[in-house]
Symmetry: D2
Subunit: 129 residues, 4 copies
């Protein structure tokens, strides 16, 4: 059954294991507050201190952005459009929140499976009208 | 964080809860043995005794077939091509196994999130040459 | 601009060019008539007399099924699940037609772009009630 | 057969027809030159002077970015994450060009089919080493 990997499950392991996890783990990067009804930018970046290979044999295929149980958006890449050097792949999404968000990213590496980020909470307060 | 739902997590709950789970849970349907290098048919069906709605507001968006940590194939549907009556949606995949398989399906409902099947083992013995 | 390739554009060319086109051109395979509201099977097969490679460097990534201007369904493959020998890749779809269909397939090869089938008409007569 | 619509095919029609086309036609927005091997941002925006509805019944499902015959990347949206007001949907992509690019976008509206942008040329000169 596909396991869902996280950085946290590896972080207290050997430096090699935690670097492996760092290089695969997506991170949600965005502001902690949003205004309802206005465009809001969210970046998902793979890797914090490590870069992941981007070769034909070993690369990320897609990045999904979730808001709790709802799949918000998904980007797929042809790895050839990202060069052949290790990198921190990024996906950018512009969404228009109607309420607060509990964002998580999931990303799939063709060699090492499905990785999930930490949840990132975005507060979108009700506005006075 | 998107939870990964399974039928088993609900099956000892109330009849209503287990019907809810049944109607969302994908099932891998295929032969228990395969011949290496030959086409092998796998069906993923959503629901065992229950049918799921297929309306604009509530429908399945995609079905994925996994072999352990590897995403084998994925089918996306426009719900309008499947009528507007409740049904057990099916995705058919033809693969060519090179080794034994540990198949799992994942399926996404736009209202109730991501559901995972039981793992189904397909034995593909090494052949005498 | 991505051209949309078809077998017909190549069929009067050299045997080499028409074999190239044959090996890339999807074909819609199904019954010519369907019953409204009942499951109806459609296979899309890549290639008529030719097999397409299925290697890491050169393979089909996805097959789409269209009904006129509507995307009915789409299947994506990991080429590794289909072995490493040339083959005629197939995608199977079960749909539930509400009216007659004008089916076309589009398929994407990572080396040679986007290919379109001939249109296949499926007659789904109005039933007496 | 799915037609591939463009703004140009409609622009000399009635104001209503050209507004219809404007509201569906993707536009590639990026710098005209890029540096090989460095991240390069590309935005695809649907609509120039018009906004497209974003309702359950009528919305864009995906945006693809092509470099000539190669599918570079694709983003899919859940329309619910973009509010319910008409808007110019955007997809952002970061790629790392290895050569000059001939970018085109294709975008799919669930009511009005597949739309293609003009080609946008990005010059990525060979660098002195």
């Amino acid at each position: 059954m596909p396991r869902i990997f996280t950085y946290n499950a590896f972080k207290n392991h050997s430096p090699k294991a935690s670097a492996y996890a760092d290089k695969h783990a997506p991170v949600v990067v965005c502001a902690p507050t949003a205004e309802r009804g206005l465009p809001f930018s969210v970046t998902v970046r793979i890797g914090t201190n490590q870069k992941h290979p981007n070769t034909m044999e070993h690369h990320f295929c897609y990045i999904q952005l979730w808001d709790l149980e709802t799949l918000v958006a998904e980007t797929r890449f042809d790895h050839r459009a990202l060069g052949d050097k290790p990198l921190q792949i990024e996906a950018q999404f512009t969404i228009i929140p109607q309420r607060s968000l509990r964002l998580t990213a999931m990303a799939y590496c063709n060699q090492h499976g499905l990785w999930q980020s930490e949840e990132f909470f975005v507060h979108a307060p009700i506005q006075d009208s």
